[in-house]
Symmetry: C2
Subunit: 270 residues, 2 copies
Amino acid sequence: MKIERTVFFISDGTGTTAGALGQLLAHFPQTHFTQVRLPFTDSVEKIEDAKQRFLMAKAGDGMRPVVIMSLGNIEHRALLKAADAYFIDLFNTFIDPLGLELAQEPLTGKGIAHGVMGENYHERMEAINFTLTHDDGMTNAGFEEAQVILIGVSRCGKTPTSIYLAMQFGVKAANYPLIPEDFERGTLPEVLYKHIDKIYGLTIKADRLHNVRSERRPNSVYASLENCKKEIATAENLMRKNNIPWADSTSRSIEELSAIILQKMRQPEK
Amino acid sequence: MKIERTVFFISDGTGTTAGALGQLLAHFPQTHFTQVRLPFTDSVEKIEDAKQRFLMAKAGDGMRPVVIMSLGNIEHRALLKAADAYFIDLFNTFIDPLGLELAQEPLTGKGIAHGVMGENYHERMEAINFTLTHDDGMTNAGFEEAQVILIGVSRCGKTPTSIYLAMQFGVKAANYPLIPEDFERGTLPEVLYKHIDKIYGLTIKADRLHNVRSERRPNSVYASLENCKKEIATAENLMRKNNIPWADSTSRSIEELSAIILQKMRQPEK
């Protein structure tokens, strides 16, 4: 049975950065973490409320909670830390020491990191828009503007990967399905050839694709294992023939696929 | 003129967590940071390559680079840290101390944090699917399954906020536009009433909406300032009348809007 611990993410802003550190909890698989976000904690009242919740968590788990915190206000920080908890303070561990290295006082206002005025915010929103209007081969207009065009068989993960690239990195990612027509013809869709340098392929294992498609259209030819195998083999051949770098999405998350694609974008294949 | 510094995010996995800390650089507005991600740094060769890049960055900026690193392999860590750079090591600052608190050795394998098998990954993918098929009132089927239904006038930010909620938090977020028909009738679309407890509104300032819509359909009635004002006032009235909590997207990022919505979901209005 796993040990139970509660982790609080406390921020005077959205808590996005503190929350991202929650991923590091995966390094401790013997513990089951209950994760609680307390964004916009920007008053003494809210600090006291958080401390009450620490007590309840401690009573429930039998262990003090872990608190990952990012509070600009120094009095609020001190007030919070008077509680019995294990604190990871982003100001202590990261922001203040970095300030020394940079010889600059950090800003301590609320929600510095995730405002609408943040660097690249507008770019990210533009990219999301672009990606949604260029999903699944919806249109070829504007491919000039695309930074990435993902191709692959239907349901291999193109859409969520494109959206992640846009949302997280502001990359204008179109995606274009490879369909039976393409396989019969034995060439990529004509429109893709002039953008070949920004095309990346996704592939997937046949049994996984069979499962995914069966959820959508059970007992169809489309979802049959045989058809999945055929489509995948043909798609991979097309990609190989055209020297398109590709990755298998079967056991990779959208974070992993995006990191692979970004790396290839920045380091063109020799 | 801003000071130039280069920041490297080095990870043996995707670098997503290290990269998230990049948001904290916003606390230092006097510096312009060039951000370089080096994911999948999992061999001595790649470590050496990174060190070469540190030297080039230092030569370019006239200052040593900042390195935010998450490497499970202890020899790789030591090798990298022999370089002249300012290091923020997620193992030193977060993972190892947390291991002491939890009385557990952390896993040090590659890419622990962002695998496809991570907690909630499947849930997030399901939510993205749901959100995309329930975008912009595309269908009312399955509203029972929605955890959030965002409403608001066309182009007020419903779509990117819904997608962010799904992608980041695994929240099944539908969205439904309020259109002139609704305003004439003076009631919400009928389908929404039985889901009223999971509806959240977005609104926007008229001049901002006018700009956004003008990019899409210049000189249309749709985009005219007068029409924007009228639509917004009527939509806000509808939300007020139905006690729907709402937030203004004009100066809020999708991170901020999502944090506000999640908080309201978890703490029902009294």
